[in-house]
Amino acid sequence: MIKRPAPSEYPSFYKGYVDNVKTDNIIKELRDQVLDIQAIISTIPEDKEEYVYAPGKWTIKEIIGHIIDTERVLGYRAMRFARKDKTHLPGYDENEYVAKANFNKQTLYGLSHEFAIVREANLALFKVWDEEALSQVGVANNLDVSVRALLFMIAGHATHHMKVIKTKYLNE
């Protein structure tokens, strides 16, 4: 069983995301989330797909796109660090990435499918890691972070944005 990351394993900025994960079994959490997110997406009415609750906010399609972008970036960091790669990895500008993508031209089904397959591709990698790989620490965006913490951040970040969709877009 994978241990929860200690606060020393990630920048304090990420604490909210890590705390969103209520289980220690992060692999199961990452798997269950595929179904959870698809379930939420299935409740989104057609007229809300490109709705924004305030000017300048992302649409629901863009939020799903941002979840996928972040999964690609954090999954990549985890892969390199698990292989004991000490290269300092760059951050990314999440707003620019959404602005330069074309998520609103895609279907919500297509984005939901892409999320699931990106998550599965990452799980295929994460599930084989041993304690040594999970405990590796690397530098991303100038800050130290462990592989274990990255896995919790991936899940907790997706949970955060799905909560925003529920509260701000679907008024649940």
């Binding site: 690609r72 698990a82 292989r83 790669d85 990314y92 330069k100 892409e114 599965e120 084989v128 041993d130």
Partner: protein
């Protein structure tokens, strides 16, 4: 999609790109999932952990290296397609293999991982506009286009599948 011009990639990659015969690179990527699974299905049990010479990778490690390279190249294409001009670092392919555990896994599991990684990349690449495909970024100190990266992903896989056929399954 047009083929990349030789000005769109470092000369080092010419060998990989010239192996790609497909007019439609997305279809080439889809077909290759089946090609690789077909090749793997022909690997006898006793060859899975076999290396044809001292210090060479096993077939499992070759498949692992194909997956590693796909993850790296696709990540570059992803960032560059968003007009990100950050200089991206290279990777030490041998250290990546020696710091992984491909030989402890089944060939089936590795074939499955290859398919998932490829599918996840196709989901991204097929959404690319012509403008995104034309973007140029910098990786490992060299300029490269998104289009060239897609061709390199396919050509690099063909190269290693050819090596498996010629050096590992030749008897």
């Amino acid at each position: 999609m047009k083929r990349p011009q030789s000005s769109e990639y470092a000369a080092f990659y010419e060998g990989y790109i010239s192996l790609v015969k497909n007019e439609n690179i997305i279809k080439g990527m889809q077909d290759q999932i089946l090609d690789l699974q077909s090749l793997i299905s022909n690997v006898p049990n006793d060859k899975e952990d076999h290396a044809y010479a001292a210090g060479k990778w096993t077939i499992k490690e070759v498949i692992g290296h194909i997956i590693d390279t796909e993850r790296i190249m696709a990540y570059r294409a992803f960032r560059m397609s968003r007009k990100d001009k950050t200089q991206l670092s290279g990777f030490d392919e041998n250290a990546f293999i020696s710091n992984s555990n491909f030989n402890d896994r089944t060939l089936y599991d590795l074939a499955h991982e290859f398919a998932l990684v490829r599918e996840s990349n196709i989901a991204l690449f097929k959404s690319f506009t012509e403008e995104m495909i034309n973007e140029i970024g910098n990786a490992n100190g060299k300029e490269i286009s998104v289009r060239a990266l897609l061709y390199i992903i396919v050509g690099h896989t063909i190269h290693h599948m050819n090596v498996v056929r010629e050096k590992y399954l030749c008897d």
